[in-house]
């Protein structure tokens, strides 16, 4: 089959590789009909995530048709149409039983490695480095889906791929980010990063009852896009104005009730701390560049919540713990507990409350992945979300 392989920093290649096989009893094989490139794939592309190996198959947002099931998979059959969540979860451990699927005890074969780095290991993830399990990803013609009786959600034939594909990651991820804000009546939610996760977080914040949503970015096209999709969204371009002053001004001096960092470890900024972060990351003194997160902590109101859906992997420097402590903040973060949100979000799509395909900017063939990665990484104004079709 054809698969998109990571060959090094800024290098992906479409390769002919062997077809996937059932390895564990609870596996299924999926013929992929749609797959997308995620902003977090760019962290891999830009070489920020350790433990990638040349030849790793990328991709953690995919859907398709079941072509084979292991003998431990009773709920799926050949021909079923499914969306696959990017977190792999056993469904039986302490964490899965409490719907904390992304910290499943039993799905990461390299859990020992993560224990060394983090103390305890999270779940396995598709196509996201060997520290995260080393699972082959879904930017391919076929994929092996482990614990297929717990992960994939069946979707009716009547809904096109594009409407449900983002149940695989970014829609639940944006939703959990908003849900973690514990939104109350009258709340203002500020979102750093107007990429696809930020866009879904904005839609979700309104769905959960936020009164106002403010999006912060410096790609004006992305801010305009957010506004075009929902005229109630307010936007701030941090190249033009001071974010703290602006947020304080528009909230009558209170600050937003909650702040969402939908940027993650490759935060861009032009202030002194952002430039220092860049320099330190370049010489491996720090791995993560948390400019947006620092700003979110500074801007959020007292007693507010900072919700972090943007991915972090290593260490950050100059964490403003004094501001966080003295303002009495709550932090919520983590890889998305996908399986906990997929059913209700599928229902929202079926009921016509949301059509997630609005974020798509480019539709390409799988064989065009190298061009897609390159453009998605450099042309952020136009290249918002890329969907690849393998067959």
């Amino acid at each position: 089959m054809k698969a998109v392989c990571w060959m090094g920093k800024h290098k992906v290649e479409v390769m002919d590789v062997p077809d996937p096989q059932i390895i564990n009893d609870r596996d299924a094989i999926i013929k992929i009909t749609g797959t997308a490139i995620c902003g977090s794939d760019l962290h891999l592309y830009n070489g920020y995530i350790p433990s990638m190996m040349q030849g790793d198959i990328l991709g953690h947002e995919f859907m398709g048709e079941v072509v084979e099931t292991g003998k431990g998979v009773g709920n799926l059959k050949k021909g079923d149409r499914v969306v696959v969540p990017f977190t792999i979860a056993c469904g039986k451990c302490f964490f899965c039983e409490r719907e904390m699927y992304s910290v499943c005890d039993n799905s990461n074969p390299n859990a020992g490695g993560q224990e060394t780095l983090y103390g305890f290991s999270g779940s396995g993830l598709f196509g996201f480095s060997h520290l995260m399990g080393g699972f082959a990803g879904g930017q391919a013609e076929y994929a092996r889906v482990p614990f297929a009786d717990v992960g994939p959600i069946k979707v009716p034939d009547s809904i096109p791929d594009e409407k449900v594909l983002f149940l695989s990651d970014i829609f639940p991820t944006g939703f959990m980010a908003a849900n973690n804000c514990n939104i109350q009546e009258g709340d203002t939610v500020a979102i750093w990063g107007a990429g696809p996760v930020g866009q879904f977080a904005a839609k979700s914040a309104f769905m959960l009852g936020a009164e106002r949503v403010v999006m912060i970015d410096h790609y004006q096209d992305r801010l305009d896009f957010a506004k075009a999709n929902n005229e109630n969204v307010e936007t701030i371009n941090f190249d033009d104005v001071d974010v703290y002053d602006k947020l304080k001004d528009i909230t009558g001096g209170r600050g937003p009730d909650s702040c969402i960092d939908a940027v993650g470890l490759e935060s861009h900024g032009t202030s002194v701390d952002a430039l220092l972060d860049y320099a330190k990351a370049a010489v491996y003194l720090a791995t993560d560049r948390p400019h947006a997160l620092r700003q979110a902590i500074f801007c959020v109101r007292k007693g507010g919540t900072v919700s972090i859906p943007g991915a972090y992997g290593g260490f950050m420097d100059k964490f403003p713990i004094g501001a966080a402590f003295n303002k009495g903040l709550t932090f919520k973060m983590g890889q998305t507990h996908m399986q906990a949100y997929m059913p209700r979000l599928l229902t929202a799509i079926e009921e016509g409350k949301i059509d997630p395909s609005f974020v798509i900017s480019h539709r390409l063939k799988l064989s065009e992945a190298p061009v897609a990665y390159d453009n998605f990484n450099t042309e952020k104004n136009q290249w918002r979300k890329v969907v690849l079709t393998p067959h």
Partner: protein
């Protein structure tokens, strides 16, 4: 006791030690420095510094401090030197009842499913079993074991029988918690024999026996909770021999 060391080392190791290794290094280094500095200074002051340096150097080299001796102080570790005995203690919490875990473990023939260094265990009697472990270079080592104590659904203790090439013993306990599943606590002891064979056995149980037992227990947990031990070996990648660049 080592016999091939030179006489000075032997002399030094026989002096009553009451200074810790780290302190000895500091003493020796700073003592040497003071001697050099004192000699360079010359005069009465320099001689005094050199004498002080000499004392520190002696303290560092011998591990014996007369001042500590007079004051009844010791910072040396006087435990016996570690033998080749491997003693491992590990625990894991499993989301299953003590009874389910006990029943699985009590059938020792199940153990190779999660203890990767074991090739097989065959039950030979009500309390006896024959264990075969993988050794380097395709060889294997075998021994017989017997159950020395057991309490149903709570605890199993076993021990290799007298005269085994690798004396070893183990205890596993299954402790219920209020609502967190079962704590499985394991203590294992191996005594690898001396010589070449012993070094093979040591390799058998890994460079890091603690890590190996931790991974065994992780596999036990996975097998019990999820019914399978999740693997990625055998999945496709661009590294496989048949992989080649696809030209669009």
């Amino acid at each position: 006791m080592q016999h091939n060391e030179n006489s000075i080392t032997q002399f030094l190791t026989h002096i009553n030690q009451n200074v810790s290794p780290a302190e000895r290094v500091v003493s020796a280094v700073s003592g040497s420095g003071l001697i050099a500095y004192g000699l360079k200074q010359g005069g009465l002051f320099g001689a005094a510094l050199s004498l002080l340096g000499g004392g520190l150097l002696y303290r560092g080299a011998t591990g014996h401090c007369h001042v500590y001796d007079a004051a009844g102080i010791t910072t040396a570790d006087d435990r016996p030197s570690p033998s080749s005995r491997v003693h491992v203690k590990k625990s894991v919490t499993i989301n299953k009842s003590p009874a389910e875990l006990y029943q699985f473990w009590r059938n020792f023939e199940n153990l190779p499913q999660f203890m990767t260094h074991l090739e097989s265990v065959k039950t030979t009697g009500e309390k006896t079993s024959r264990w075969v472990a993988k050794a380097p270079l395709g060889a294997s080592v075998e021994w017989d074991a017997e159950i020395t104590s057991e309490r149903e659904n709570e605890r199993i203790g076993w021990k290799s029988i007298e005269g085994s090439e690798i004396p070893n013993s183990g205890v596993v306990e299954f402790l219920p918690t209020s609502n967190r599943g079962t704590e499985v606590r394991v203590v294992l002891t191996y005594e690898p024999p001396a010589g070449y064979f012993g070094s093979l056995v040591a390799r058998l149980f890994g460079e890091e026996p603690n890590q190996q037992v931790a991974e065994d227990l992780r596999r036990f947990k996975r097998l019990m909770e999820s019914g399978t031990i999740m693997k990625t070996e055998g999945q496709p990648s661009g590294r496989s021999a048949k992989a080649k660049s696809a030209k669009a």
